[in-house]
Subunit: 245 residues, 2 copies
Amino acid sequence: MSSVIDLLKSHRSIRKFTDKAIEPELLNELVLAGQAAATSSFLQGSTIIRVSKKETREKIATLAGNQKYVETAAEFLVFCADLKRPGNFCREYEKAFEGDYTEHFIIATVDVALMAQSLVTAAESVGLGICYIGGIRNDPALVSELLELPDGVYPVFGLCLGYPDQDPEVKPRLPVSVIMKQEVYNEEGDRDSISEYDEAIREYYRTRTGGGHGISWTEQVSGLLSGKARPHMKEFLASKGYKFK
Amino acid sequence: MSSVIDLLKSHRSIRKFTDKAIEPELLNELVLAGQAAATSSFLQGSTIIRVSKKETREKIATLAGNQKYVETAAEFLVFCADLKRPGNFCREYEKAFEGDYTEHFIIATVDVALMAQSLVTAAESVGLGICYIGGIRNDPALVSELLELPDGVYPVFGLCLGYPDQDPEVKPRLPVSVIMKQEVYNEEGDRDSISEYDEAIREYYRTRTGGGHGISWTEQVSGLLSGKARPHMKEFLASKGYKFK
């Protein structure tokens, strides 16, 4: 179809990087590529904090669940949803600030994700590897303190970038028939497809470099949804002005 | 740098399409490319509803604010955050379902956005044009009814796909110096850069094909944040099981 489609389909997270640096001009290009993604209502509600300081990297690696590659990646970027920047102009133009609706949270969060994913594709197109770090939400208050994030700005995820020093397999995804439906939502035939997929995932973990836990997809996701996931998020977000009105 | 970076940087929304169809095999490839994007905790919390029925397209075009291209695009996809599918396995494995935390909402929403953006890049790489339709959140309850979305599934945005029948300019973005910061958040020098950018945006609207309103970026975004944005979203999401615990 196209080499870009092949590139996208070959994505896998990289957690081991060489010590080769990323040239500043290249990083700048990656950000430009990310920024060019669509932005809802032209908000451009994203800010990237580029973290180079060793001490900050170490602290974030630890709070994210001891993810060492946060320290060793050539670049570590924290993607933040930013309603402060646009909100400044409410004050400047003497308008009321009402940016604490659930909808504003969605717009800003989606903006960040679209930008990040285009930046990621740009990076992978020049041979870089990446790993998203959702683990920064383990302690978003500490991340915010370290990065001096003001009200209106919240850290959505981190991103490790660097030249790969490993070559892991691509992880299989759910069949298209399960995740795309015609006209209306329905789950006809899905259970059987998912059983087959579970087997493929068990096999993936059995055979991949470095081995793995051999847990199926359904076991993993049922675990994720039966636990209290980061229960501090609501209060943390409220403290940053995201009130879900 | 790379042709992929050039491709990403050349993105603009397309709102006028030829009547050329997208081959089913190609659509399938685009979805595979989208699915290959990273997924938080391996949740794969996304479902696409492919809407082909004329009546449904018309209704969605209307509720989205009379966006005619929802009717005329070769394909119209509704991207949904889906915690129902993984949640099914809590029940099946007799685990408690706790998937109504704010964190789960973030994971699923980000998953959807990453998948969509990779699908978009795949589409643009083969000459297709796209337009995100956030306007489906004008009436998410009606969209959910039309698409028979069950509890745990919410429509995040729509996407028009088709072969472009227009060639609009690329819309300038904020300077990188404004949106990327070193080590910590700061706004030093930003106000001046944003003033220059406001001028560029006024110029963009003055000169683009079809003309425009000539409103600067700061005026636009201050408007967005001084209004009650889709105040129904919180209650709608709660009705779908997204309780922001």
